[in-house]
């Protein structure tokens, strides 16, 4: 247990030791939420195109903001510590414990990022179900944090990894985010990472309820990502039988 706490503490303090990261994690949500809300509300209404109400625009901005901040954080955390992680494994740290500390720290910071986004939202909108809204925002962040971690484990270079996470998030936000510009959305969009978290959030925010099916889907999504990250991380940390890369 000591090892777990030491790992979590080390990961969190690495993040906090860079004040610019903390400042940006606090400031960017304000910019994204307000920018998204104002822009979406500015779309002129046409016969088949409806401007998005500013509240919904802000909510979509918050989901995207949480997702992208957490996703890139997950990616950076897996890649930047790769060499150190392998050395820790060689010194006897079990890979699963190591991964657990990484993901727990990532989860903790994601909760804080979601709280900041929720705070910004709360200043302008009164959610019907505040606790549910916050929890679903955390879930949206966790999905992308784990996705970023998976991409980081698979593609161990930041440039390529960031391209994948960034473009996935942008397509996801466009297709899952009720864009008034889009029509004929393909059915497979249901499997995009933000589709069900967005449904959950929208329902909790404006109606105070949630659909169990959406929640089950998000839980399943998180579980699958967790299994995949664990497997890929385990493979990349394997040190026996040769020199480590």
């Amino acid at each position: 247990m000591n090892r777990v706490w030491t790992g979590i503490r080390a990961n969190v303090s690495t993040f906090l030791r860079t004040p610019l990261n903390v400042v940006l994690a606090l400031l960017l949500p304000i910019v994204v939420i307000e920018g998204w809300g104002q822009a979406m509300a500015g779309l002129p209404s046409m016969p088949t195109v409806e401007a998005i109400p500013i509240e919904l625009g802000r909510l979509l901005g918050a989901i995207f903001g949480v997702a992208i901040i957490a996703g890139l954080m997950g990616l950076a955390q897996m890649i930047s510590a790769r060499a150190a992680d392998r050395r820790l494994v060689q010194t006897g740290y079990p890979p699963r414990t190591l991964l657990a500390t990484r993901l727990a720290a990532l989860g903790g910071v994601t909760v804080v990022v979601a709280a900041v986004n929720y705070g910004v939202l709360w200043l302008t909108i009164s959610p019907e179900a505040p606790v549910l809204t916050f929890v679903f925002l955390v879930l949206a962040g966790l999905v992308y944090a784990f996705l970023g971690a998976l991409v980081g484990a698979l593609l161990p270079r930041l440039f390529e990894g960031s391209l994948v996470v960034v473009f996935l998030a942008m397509m996801d936000a466009f297709l899952s985010g009720d864009s008034p510009l889009a029509a004929d959305i393909p059915e497979f969009v249901e499997y995009f990472p933000l589709y069900h978290p967005k449904e959950l959030l929208q329902e909790a925010m404006f109606q105070g309820t949630y659909t169990t099916g959406d929640l089950g889907f998000v839980a399943g999504y998180l579980l699958v990502l967790l299994v995949l990250v664990t497997v890929v991380f385990g493979v990349t940390m394997r040190t026996s039988g040769g020199w480590s890369a």
């Binding site: 940006l24 822009a39 002129p44 195109v49 593609l155 960034v166």
Partner: protein, 250 residues
């Protein structure tokens, strides 16, 4: 082969040897821009632009307008991230080249050459994909504005890479072009005179040119392209200065 050419060709080989990166530089613009055209509603929307020197609202198909915005956003995002990571790598390694006898301008020319090559590829692929679904009225004006905005973002990526660490840099280089080109300069969202602060963003002048030369039958934004180039030169001077300091310090 002189030193600059050697450093440039090694930089290009290093990137080209990375097949995943090369594949992503092609696959991402193709999938993103194609998807944008495929799912956008085919309806006419009001677009505010210059017509015969006067600001006017014209009706244009939404896929075309959306394409005019999604194409530069794709190349600006990739060029910006390329600039960011080139600068971060440079901070780690280029100081050693200086110790080995390289002059600062030789290192700078080589690194900026690599960024220019990546930007050219991404711009070429993005415009090529766009041409499948949409042909701008004045292709070469459009391409010129695309190049200006992409190079500008590549250099901004370098500036960000000099000041911020990798994580903060990635956040900024995603959110800046997305807000700038995707929201603040998008003529679908901004239907009145843009606020003064929106005009300060790097995308303002080039996107004006792209909207005009992409969607109207005459060129009214030649001066905007001059302003965009001026903006680019200013950013280039800043980037060279910052790069020089960063490599000296390392």
């Amino acid at each position: 082969m002189n030193r600059t050419t050697t450093a440039f060709s090694i930089g290009i080989k290093e990137q080209a040897r990375n097949y995943v990166l090369v594949a992503l530089l092609v696959v991402l613009p193709v999938s993103f821009i194609t998807l944008a055209f495929a799912v956008t509603q085919d309806v006419e929307m009001p677009v505010r632009t210059l017509v015969d020197g006067e600001t006017a609202t014209v009706m244009r198909g939404m896929p075309e307008v959306h394409g005019v915005i999604m194409t530069p956003i794709t190349s600006a995002l990739i060029a910006g991230l390329a600039g960011l990571f080139l600068m971060r790598e440079a901070k780690d390694t280029d100081g050693r080249l200086a110790v080995a006898g390289y002059r600062a301008w030789q290192v700078i020319a080589a690194r900026f050459g690599v960024l220019a090559a990546i930007t050219l590829i991404v711009t070429g692929v993005s415009v090529g994909v766009m041409l499948v679904d949409f042909q701008p009225e004045y292709l070469w004006w459009f391409v010129a504005a695309m190049l200006v905005v992409s190079v500008t973002y590549g250099l901004i990526g370098m500036l960000v890479g000099a000041v911020f660490n990798r994580l903060a840099g990635m956040w900024l280089m995603l959110i800046l072009p997305m807000l700038d080109i995707g929201l603040f300069q998008d003529p679908l969202f901004i239907q009145s005179e843009p606020d003064w602060w929106m005009k300060l963003f790097p995308g303002y002048w080039p996107v004006r040119v792209m909207v005009d030369t992409g969607l109207t039958t005459d060129v009214d934004t030649a001066l905007s392209l001059v302003w965009a180039t001026g903006y680019l030169l200013l950013v280039a001077v800043l980037a060279i200065g910052v790069y020089y300091r960063a490599t000296q310090a390392s």
